[in-house]
Each structure stands twice: as C-alpha cells, then as structure tokens.
C-alpha cells in the first residue's frame, strides 16, 4: 500500500513558538493533501488542505508548504498555544482513492 511518512513522532514546543511537522509521499498520482487534528477520544477534524498546483496555503496560524518535486509537504503552526496540543495527521489521496494517513505527530505546547 502506498505510504505517507510523517515526522517527528512527537514534538514539544514552547508557547508562542513555531511547530513544524513534515510528511513525504510516494505516489505521484496523489493530488489532495490535508492535515487533520485529533484530540483524545475524538475523531480527526480537518485543519487545512492543499492541492499540488500551489506551493503554500495559509489559514490563520496554520500554513502548509508543498514541494511537488521532492514529494514533501509540511505543516507550520505559528504562535503555538497550549490549546494546539493534540495529535496531527498528514494524509494524501488521488485518483478516486480514499485518504491514506501518516502515523501521526503528538504535539505538546508548554506554557
């Protein structure tokens, strides 16, 4: 099965700092790259998504950077807050396939 590789597995950031999570994919047919946020005991919720025709997308404090040639994309959380502490999943899909998820990054923002 095609994979989406996510790193780091866990991340600790000071309040106000920048959190950066990276993902790499293999299948060049993928054309949709979302990030999901999941709190304990809850289902994943869409945070932000990007398509390969743009290199960056920003929504509030969250930015996706996309590098098509390197087959990599990353999530940047600016001014990280304790409320951002959660597990983040990158994912990818394309050509009628369902989302394939990375293994997740547990983010802890210390106050």
């Amino acid at each position: 099965q095609q994979q989406v590789k996510q790193s780091p597995q866990s991340l600790i950031v000071q309040k106000g700092g920048i959190s950066i999570i990276n993902c790499a994919y293999e299948n060049t047919a993928f054309d949709y790259f979302p990030w999901y946020q999941q709190f304990p005991g809850k289902g994943p919720a869409l945070l932000i998504a990007i398509r390969p025709d743009v290199s960056e997308k920003k929504e509030g404090r969250f930015t996706i950077s996309f590098n098509k040639s390197a087959k990599q994309f990353s999530l940047h959380i600016m001014d990280s807050q304790p409320g951002d502490s959660a597990t983040y999943f990158c994912a990818a899909s394309g050509a009628g396939t369902a989302l394939i998820f990375g293994k997740g990054t547990t983010l802890s923002v210390s106050s």
């Binding site: 949709y32 919720a45 999943f89 369902a98 997740g104």
Partner: protein
C-alpha cells in the same frame, strides 16, 4: 453543523463474540468510509462505499469483517468472531464524492475485546 453519527461509542466484547457498529453519514454525502485506528497510529481504511456500492474493500479482513450500506445512506460494520487484536477505534467518515473532497469523521466507536 451536520455531523457523522456513530454508535455505540464504547463496546466491550468477549473474544469470539459478534459485534456491530452503526454509522449515519452527513446528509447528502455519497461516499462513506470505515477506518480503523489502533491507539497511537493513524487511521487505516477498511472499506469505502460510493452510494450502496463498495469501491474499495481491499484492506477489509473478509473472513471476519463485513460492511453494508444497503440503501446508500447509513452503514453497518460487523465483526464476527471478534479477536483480541481487533481492539481499536472504528471511525466512520463521509464526503460528497470520491477523492479530493473534505472527509468528515464521526467521534468513533471504541472496541475492547477481552
């Protein structure tokens, strides 16, 4: 805001027993997914429906798992017999169509097999 409804939220069952999960997607969503999420890992697709038809069930352990969406609306995922390794969260999700559309997840059904 419309949500994906799942029940039960929690289920404890003994090994070799049967268990079933129900999902009601967001109204109008043609595509429905069942994912399994083991603690500490990302969701993994079990089955994908487009209306009442199965689009992808390649990762569904068909010897013990079955899924149906008879009228193209709500769906049931069944496990019989349950095994210890089936302990996980079972997530239902839905979207307007196939890939590239926002997928909305339910709260999940936690299964513990003892």
């Amino acid at each position: 805001e419309a949500e994906v409804a799942q029940s039960p939220r929690y289920k404890i069952t003994e090994k070799s027993q049967a268990v079933a999960f129900w999902c009601d997607p967001i109204s109008g969503h043609a595509t429905l997914y069942w994912y399994r999420q083991i603690l500490g890992q990302g969701p993994e697709l079990l089955v994908q429906f487009q209306d009442e038809s199965v689009v992808d069930d390649s990762q569904l352990p068909k010897d013990r798992f079955s899924a149906e969406r008879l009228k193209g609306v709500d769906s049931t995922l069944k496990i019989q017999p349950a095994e210890l390794g089936d302990s996980a969260m079972y997530l239902c999700a839905s979207s307007w169509g196939l890939s590239g559309n926002t997928i909305y997840f339910g709260e999940g059904s936690w299964l513990t097999v003892v």
